[in-house]
Amino acid sequence: MKKRFLGVLLSVAMVAAVLAGCGSSGAKETAAPAGSETEAASEAASGETEAAGNTGDVITVGFSQVGAESDWRTANSESMKSTFSTENGYNLIFDDAQQKQENQIAAIRNFIQQEVDYIVLAPVTESGWDTVLQEAKDAEIPVIIVDRMVDVSDDSLYTAWVGSNFKLEGQKACEWLKQYAAAKNMSEVNIVDIQGTIGASAQIGRTEALNEAVEANGWNLLAQQTGEFTQAKGQEVMESMLKQYDNINVVYCENDNEAFGAIEAIKAAGKTVGPDGDILVMSFDTTKQGITDTLSGDIIVNTECNPLHGPRVEQIIKQLQAGETPEKQAYVEEGIYAHGSDVASVSIDGTDYEVTEVTQDVVDARAY
C-alpha cells in the first residue's frame, strides 16, 4: 500500500516535472515575440547566403544574439542587421539563442560548418566558452565578442571585444555635474546614489566613477542604496532617502527606470525636479522615454549606453580584412545628453566629449 502510494507520488511528480518543463520553455518562446520575427529574418538571411554563395568579395558574418529581452537588445540586433546588410556587401546569418547558452554553442558550431568568415557573439553568460571558441580558432575563424565579456583561460580564443565602457559613462556624467555646478554656482553638492543591481557590470562601473568624483571634488555623498534597476525600487529607496536628508540636491540614478521612480518620489514629497527645482536627477541609458524626460528637464543629464554595436564591429572586420591587428578591447561611442546648453563638452583623460542638448529632433531620432 505504502509502496504503491509512493509510486503514484513519484509518477505524479514526474508528470509535473514534464509539465513544468513545457511551461518554462513556453515562457521562453513567448518571452521573445520579436525573436520570432528576427528568426524569420535570419532564415531569410541564410537563404540569401546560399543564393549569394561564392560571389567572391561578399563577407559572411554569423551573429549569435542572446535574445530579445529588452528594447536595448532589439536595437542591438537591428544595428547588426542594418550594418551587415547585403547592400553593404555582407551576408549576415542571424541566430536568436532565446537566452540559452546551449543554443549559442550550437549556433557557433553551425557557423563553423558553414565556413563563415567571421563570428560575432553576444554571450548570454561569461563562462563556459572555452571549448567552442577553441573549435572556432582551429577553424581559423575570427570571433568578435559584443556587449558582455567572456571569461576564457586563453585570451587568444577571441579576436576582439566590443562593448560599453560603463566607468567612462559614469566619469562623463560626473564631469558634467562638476562643470554644471560651477556654471550654476552651486554652493554645495549633496548627492544620493541609487545604484543598479549590485554586481552588474553597469552598476560597478557607474558607482566607481561616482565614488572617485566625490572624492576628487569634495562632494557630499549622503547615501548609496540599490534600486535594482527598477522603477518601483528606485521610488521606494528615494522615498526613504528624502526623509533622511533634507538637503539632497542631486540624485545619481544608474538607469532610466530608477530615475522615473526617483522623480515620482521627489514630486510626491512636495519637492521639484529640473534646472530650477530643488533636485537635479541624473540618469543613464538614454532610452526614448528617458530622453523625453531630459527634454522636459525632469532628468537633467542622461548618459548614453549605446546598443548600436554594428558599425564598431564592421570597423574591426575591415581592419582584419586589411590584415591589420585590431585592438583587443573596443568601446562603442557613447554620447551624453543634457537639458539646456550650460555645459558644452566634458573632458576625460584629455579626450573631449561633446554634450548634446536635447531637442525634439533628438527625441524623435531615438529608435529605442
Binding site: 505524479v12 509535473a16 513544468a20 511551461g23 515562457a27 513567448t30 520579436a34 528594447d71 527598477t230 533622511q244
Partner: protein, 351 residues
Amino acid sequence: MNKNSIKKITSMRLFLPIVCLVAVLLVNLITTPGFFKVSINNGVLYGYIVDVVNRASELVILAVGMTLVTAASGGQDISVGAVMAVAAAVCCQILSGGEVSVTELAAPMGLAIIAAILASALCGAFNGFLVAKMNIQPMVATLILYTAGRGIGQLITAGQITYVRVDSYKVFGGYIGKIPVPTPIFLAIIVVIIVNLILKKTALGLYIESVGINGTASRLVGLNSTLIKFLTYVICGVLAGIAGIIASSRIYSADVNNIGLNLEMDAILAVALGGNVLGGGKFSLMGSVIGAYTIQALTTTLYAMNVKADQLPVYKAIVVVIIVTLQSPVFQSFIAKQRAKKAAAAVEGGK
C-alpha cells in the same frame, strides 16, 4: 492573579508575532529618532511609518491568500509574484488599447480591472485544479505558473513595458482625491476585513482548517475537500491579481519582468513569521498580516539606517533567523523546560 494575566497574554497566538514587529520598530527609536514622526506634507501623510504601512500593502494582500492556501493544502503557492505580473499586464494592455505608452484610457477602467482579476482567478483556478484535483504537490504545481507566468505577461504586452500615464490609473497606488492616506493602505485593510468576515461568518475558515489537518477525515465527515482546496487557490489568485494592480498602478505601467519579483518568498515568510505552521491546518490570518508588516518594517528600517546595499540581505537574514527561532516549537519547549526547572528549584529552596 497578575501573573496569570501575564501568562494569558504571552500564551496568546499573536503574542510573539506582535513582539517581533514591535522589536523591529523599536530599533528605530535608537537609530533613527525621526522614524515615528508623521506629518502632513504636500497635503498627504508623510513619514517612515506611513511608508512601511503603504509599501507593505501588496505583501499583506498576498500573505492573506498564502495563509489560506497553506492552511488548506499544506503547501505554498509560489506563482503569486508571476500572477501579479499577469494581472498587471492584462490591466495595462486593456487600458492602453495595445499601445506602448498612452496618456488617455483606451477602455473603461472597470473593464480592465475586472479582466485582470478574472485572469488572475483563472491562474488560481489552474493551480487549484492541479493541486486539488490532480493531487500534485503545491510547490510543483505552482512552479508551472511561476516559470511561465512572466512569459505569459510578456506575450500580453508584446515584450514591452506598457505605460498608462493617466492620473485616474495612479489612484490605486497613490491617493484618492484629497484623502491624505495612500490608497493601498485602504485596499489592504478592506481585503483583510472581507476575508476575515467570510472566514468568520461562514464555516469556510473551519472547513479550511479541518481539510488542512486531515483531508481524508474531512471527506469522510462530508466535506468536499477537493473543492475547498480549489477555492483557496482561486482566492489566492484573485488576491495576487489585486496586489498586481496596486503594484502596477504605483509605477503606472506593466513591467512584467519586475512586478512582484521574489514577492512570493516574502509572502511565505510572512505566513511563517505570523506563527503559522507551513504544513497546514490551524492558521491565524492576523498573524500573517502582522508578519507582512514586520518584513516591510525591517526593509524600511534598514534603508533608514543607511545599510549598504550589498549587506542588506545579510541583515535581513539574521533578523529572520532570530524571529523564526524564537517562534519555533523546539525553542519554546526549551524555554518552558528551563522555566519549570527554575520553578522546581525555587520550590526546593523554599523547603
